[in-house]
């Protein structure tokens, strides 16, 4: 599987008054797909956001190394340029900026070169097709008036177009109907196979994982990783939910 792309050691994270993550340690190798699961409120989204550099969270201890470099020293956009991507759970609306202009600007930023309109349209077409998205979406203002499902698809569209080396998917399947989950899954599969990307999928349900190849699963309860294992854990969670882990966590605390 190769070298470690992401190395998190003893990470402590606070937001305002509370400590949300306690001593998180996690390693993800290049090309691997890891899944982070846990009950609601466990702090899963926090981890995704901290990796991306959301100013709302403060790292009070530990370290994060990405591709051999100290991630915590980098600004949000530097991390993106280094190859990190976060598909947001609730992407913000940006009126006045169309989805396609936005993606094009981001691409131009990376390559440093202008991309012509027709060339861009050529590039975006296959991605739109995989995601079952009508080309007119590209001209709409970014996320403005998009339904939950449409917003998620727009995020995956960006994933496919920007082609990062490491993608974090934050609850990408929550709020989607069966068809939408399938579509989004297809997009993620495409990224996994065709682009050989590295993935961290954050979710509390297993639907999106069904068609994907998974290398490791971690369970997060109350801001701590209580167990790590392989894809078999997914089956167990499917059948029994998080009960075992919650009980374990409680016992350890008592």
């Amino acid at each position: 599987m190769g070298d470690e792309l992401l190395k998190i050691r003893g990470l402590d994270v606070r937001a305002e008054e509370n400590q949300i993550l306690h001593s998180i340690s996690l390693s993800i190798g290049r090309g691997e797909t890891h899944v982070l699961m846990g009950p609601n409120g466990a702090g899963k989204s926090t981890l995704g956001n901290v990796l991306m550099g959301n100013p709302q969270y403060r790292v009070t201890g530990g370290s994060i190394e990405f591709d051999g470099r100290n991630l915590l020293e980098q600004t949000v956009d530097e991390r993106a340029k280094a190859g990190l991507f976060l598909s947001f759970q609730n992407p913000v609306e940006v009126p006045g900026v169309s989805l396609s202009d936005f993606i094009r600007s981001a691409l131009e930023m990376r390559s440093g070169e202008r991309i012509r309109t027709w060339e861009f349209r050529k590039r975006i077409r296959p991605a739109l097709e995989i995601l079952n998205m009508d080309p007119s979406y590209a001209d709409r203002d970014l996320n403005v008036g998009f339904s939950g499902g449409e917003k998620k698809k727009a995020e995956i569209l960006q994933l496919l177009m920007l082609n990062p080396s490491f993608a974090i998917l934050d609850e990408t399947d929550s709020g989607l109907d069966v068809d939408a989950v399938r579509t989004v899954s297809r997009g993620v599969e495409e990224y996994q196979k065709d682009k050989k990307g590295t993935l961290l999928i954050i979710t509390h349900s297993t639907r999106i994982l069904e068609a994907l190849h998974v290398d490791a699963v971690h369970v997060l309860v109350d801001g701590r990783i209580v167990e790590s294992g392989d894809a078999a854990l997914i089956r167990e969670i499917n059948e029994n939910g998080f009960e075992r882990f919650l009980a374990q966590d409680k016992a350890e605390k008592a």
Binding site: F88, P95, V97, F102, M109
Partner: protein, 370 residues
């Protein structure tokens, strides 16, 4: 407390011949030696529009009453005996092509224009006013555009200003909107030293409506003073004002929008929204959105968002690899593009985008050099 008297002073836009202090720009002086002259306009006249060029004294300002002590460009126009150019559209007539007026001001000193638009019942017209003064000599210009909209008439007026930094400009727009008539105004400010935009709309007839989209981007030491006064007189009248802009460097802007629901304007609604993106540390933004109301059965609102970019938006865009500066640039462009996008004529739209684009190149050049 001094600020309070400033509030009131704003509606007093008396223009003495020497200094224009209400713009807060004492460095503007009119040279007494050169008399104001009538400026030159290049006109593109659609067939359905009749033009009259009056050589006689202009009639006293029609319909609209002046606020106490205010005379705007009126005094200057009378003193200079500037004849008016009157454009008429006949009853029921819909002009297919836009009336394009390009104001090039020749000569030195002060160039004045008096333009009148008279739309008869059921007519419609799109008018483009381009304020692009030539660089040679002209330091100052004043344009007064007045209009009268008959019943059910529709006027789409697009004003685009782009001038150099040594230029001072007074842009006055005033007129009456008749029953069920509509005025759609788009004002784009893309450059010019010191500008005052003064707009007064009287929604006189039942169901009269007014919509304005204003976009501006100020750089360097530019100053922009915007004043809107919308008088709701008729019943069920409507107005919507959207102003979006960007302030850079050391520029300054004052936006005073007044929505006045007069008694008898029942069923009316008036809304004002302002969005100002402040980019550099030394800018100055002043905003005074006023609602006056003597009528119970109305709905009025105004909202303003001023300052830096929402931090959630900034974070999201940065997470896609855009540096902070690029994000700000993109959002600044987006604001102006949104206004340009509302221009109903594709030809004028592309012209506007061109002007915006060239503004960018000039600015980049300036940044690299200075």
């Amino acid at each position: 407390m001094k600020e309070k008297s400033e509030n009131r002073q704003i509606t007093v836009k008396r223009l003495p011949a020497r200094t224009w202090y209400w713009l807060g720009m004492n460095e503007l002086r009119m040279e007494t030696a050169s008399a104001p002259v009538r400026g030159e306009i290049r006109i593109s006249l659609p067939e359905e529009v009749l033009m009259e060029d009056t050589a006689c004294l202009p009639a006293a300002s029609e319909g609209t009453e002046e606020a106490a002590g205010e005379d705007g460009l009126g005094t200057l126009l009378e003193e200079a005996v500037v004849p008016a150019r009157i454009f008429r559209v006949g009853k029921g007539c819909r002009a297919a092509d836009p009336l394009a007026l390009t104001f090039r001001c020749a000569g030195s000193g002060l160039a004045l224009h008096d333009v009148r638009l008279d739309l008869a019942d059921g007519s419609s017209l799109t008018v483009l006013e381009d304020f692009l003064p030539s660089e040679s000599g002209v330091k100052m210009a004043g344009v007064r555009t007045s209009f009268r909209l008959g019943r059910g008439a529709v006027l789409r007026l697009i004003q685009i200003q782009k001038a150099g930094s040594g230029f001072s400009f007074v842009n006055e727009l005033r007129g009456s909107v008749g029953a069920f008539a509509k005025l759609e105004l788009i004002q784009l400010f893309l450059g010019g030293g010191a500008t005052a935009q003064k707009t007064r709309i009287d929604l006189d007839g039942t169901g009269a409506s007014f919509r304005a989209d204003l976009g501006y981007q100020l750089r360097g030491e530019e100053k922009l003073d915007i004043s809107y006064v919308v008088n709701h007189r008729g019943k069920k009248t409507e107005c919507g004002i959207n102003a979006a802009g960007v302030l850079r460097d050391r520029s300054e802007k004052l936006f005073a929008g007044t929505i006045d629901f007069k008694k008898g304007s029942s069923g009316s609604s008036g809304h004002e929204k302002e969005d100002v993106l402040l980019i550099d540390e030394q800018v100055r933004n002043r905003t005074i959105p006023v609602i006056l109301c003597s009528e119970e059965d109305v709905a009025g609102s105004h909202g303003a968002t001023i300052g830096r970019l929402d931090e959630n938006i900034l974070y999201y865009l940065q997470s896609r690899g855009m540096g902070r500066e690029s994000v700000y640039e993109m959002m600044a462009q987006a604001r102006l593009n949104a206004v340009i996008g509302r221009i109903p004529d594709s030809g004028i739209q592309s012209e506007a985008r061109c002007l915006l684009g060239s503004q960018e190149t000039v600015a980049e050049g300036e940044r690299e050099n200075g």
